[in-house]
Amino acid sequence: MRQYITRRVLQMIPILLGLSIIIFGLFALAPGDFIDANLSKNLSAEKVAELKALYGFDQPLHIRYFRWAGDALRGNLGDSLQFSKPVTSVINDYVWNSFILSAFSYLLSIILAVPIGIISATKQYSKFDMGATVVALIGISMPAFFLGLLMIKIFAIDLHILPVSGMRTAGLNATGFAAMADVGKHLILPTLVLAFSGVGSLMRYTRTSMLEVIKQDYIRTARAKGLSEKTVIYRHALRNALIPIVTILGLMLPGLFGGAMITEQIFAFPGIGKIALGALSKRDYPLMMGFNMFMAVLVLLGNLLSDILYAAVDPRVRLK
């Protein structure tokens, strides 16, 4: 196993290098640059040329890439054009907010999806199963912003018990526990929205996986041995059914830090997702490069984690 992990980690290096070139190339090819995206000023042609030279846009592509790569290897991801501060600092400002939001909603998703998926599978085609299926499908066929607006309408406007948007109440100079409670209140709706969007798919995968396991011969054997249904399901079937689920968890790693872009938009939540999106529309290259490389690393790590978990949890799997 250790050999495998080392090998994989070493492989990540050339992949990241390749990715950085691809991503850099993509952004360079995208039409319009930071100056163009901020039209609405009366800039003369000379001024535009001057600005582009200052920002280094007039340099040939490979020089710009090597400059970026050289700095990046030393930990300097450049300065964000929008914010005029280091990319690492900008990401740091926002990513932890996203992390809290994503972590809570993943937790909620898992706590809801797995049990419901299991029960759905054991009672296939029952009213419970059909009901859960319908709810899950609603979750994935509704645009997230619809769900968000619905929740806001019910809880924030009609019932007036939760805030409409943001992460903190403006003007509330709370500290310590009161401050945490304030943030907590603001987290409830976005967490629910995010969880509801994700719970459907996780539930369906769990149900499917469980259904497959229940049909296996060894379950039939367990039943034949006279074990109670409860033991059969929860001791024998569950562990095997969870195997694919555990690997899905590894794939969720990028999501934990990538921010929930739509949800953050609707709730004006100060997360990295919102910022990353804005960076694309504004063609803020350093920020886009920095953020996407960060995400690329997470994707690779998440996949690796997934593979490791899979091998660790399922004795039948042999990683060659």
């Binding site: 409409v164 804005g278 694309l280 529309s281």
Partner: protein, 572 residues
Amino acid sequence: MKSFKIKSLMALALAGMLVLSGCGGGQEAAAPEQAAEKADLTTQTVDIHKAEDPSKNPQQALDRKDTIVVGMTEFSGKFMEQFRQSSYDMYVNQMIFEQLVEVDDEGKPVDEGIATWTVENDNKYIFKLKDGIKFSDGTDVKAEDVEFSYLLLADPNYDGDSDMSKYGFVGFDDYKNGSATSIEGIKVIDDKTIEFTLEEPNAEVIYFFTGGIVPKAYYGANYTKGDLSSVKALLTKPMGSGPYKMVEYKEGQSVTFTANEHYWKGQPAVKNVIFTVTAKSTAMQSFLGGQTDVEMMDVSIENVEQLKGAGFVDLHRFPTNGYGYLGMNNALPKFSDKRVRQALAYALNRKDVVEAIYGPFGNVLNVPQSRVAWSYSEEGINEYGYDMEKAAALLDEAGWTMGDDGFRYKDGEKFEIFFTGMADHPVLDIMLPVMIESYKQLGIDLKVEYVDFPTLTEKTNNFSAEMWFMAWGLTPDPGDSSNVYKTGGPQNKYNYGSTKVDELFVQGSKETDFEKRKAIYAEIYKILNDELPCIIVYQRSDMWAANSRLEGFHVTPYKEFTKDLWKVTIKE
């Protein structure tokens, strides 16, 4: 998993709305307001609707006894006018910094700023700072602070949006591109006096003096010419002489201000002000729920109804400083004939479209200037009212004859227009279907493609777009339009050129008498209206909603709400 990428795409859709709302900014300072009484958009400046039932004020708002909360869309953290790019940062800066020259109602310069001035020989501006003006740390504002504020703009590595080179300050080039240690044309005479000298008279420079004045001791502590890093490090920690000072900035969330006890005009009545980020789609709800006291709202019949119905809202509505237009690449053969452009204008029912989008809150506009600007003129203007017959006649005249398939042809070529637009655009969503239908009737096949904003900008920049829709923001100086309409102008994406118009713009920039200047621009507008390099569609309204417990809230097209916020009191 797939879902991540999908979510990011959908989020982009929402984000796009932010970009659209942010463009059209770029105003410099504004002016005091005229008396406001109920009237329509065409003659009067600000329409104020007073709250009808203040008892409906939400408790959350009422509980705030000494704080005003203003809703904003986002901040970029460039809290210094010299480097600012986003319009929301501008509001923050106006709370903190002050200017030499202020602008009145109609956008004319007045001396309500920190200085009075005299002009010698039309090219020398002598500013005298008023008494008692202090920065929020208690130090006096001196002429050297003014000099420093402007030297930043001339720094060889200055990468902000201000373009100082166009005014022709004496010695500017030596400083910017040479080794001079100061600009000859910017001279500090004494602690309170500073002189600016231009090579030639330039009537537009007076608007340049509306920039924010910053303290040299604070920002310039480690500054050397060519190295702006120490200045930029203070972008999120601003300090100025304005009515408020910044206490805290939470990225992506809020900016908190507290009153500047040294403010020279007097103590701000309300001690605390917070600018908080609200979501575009729920800003109305945040406001109605009492989370915010002030917010700029989109003007639509529904929004106005909702706000009026809430009972506790004062509405301030006025014409936007800008206009929406249909751009065309005049160099293309099909658009090079003026009659074709005019036909396209006659065939579009702008009145109905504007009414459908903005109701009574938007107006068709025919000249590239705001109705409430001092230089606005309708002399000799053709209104291009909806007239399909006239349009058809003009096209016939221009050689486009109707074919059997319902489309027009000229020299064997079918009349097709490739329109480049943006998706989910409140104006295009309504205007494009109408255009497609009307132009089809006329015999023109309008094909629409969607791109995102930077791509659209690039397409117009390299003249590969045939027809598009965008909006310009206007500044108090009518001369700024020359960038758009003069031959080869940096914003002239229409490939339009008229020597007469060019001459007139040059005359206008040199003429310092306002009445004479006004006549020059009237002439320009008349020509542009006849030649139609672009089809101007509308001027819409801006609207600020204020909680009725705020007394003295004040906003006009040329004066942002921040200018008089320090005078606002909270009713018991």
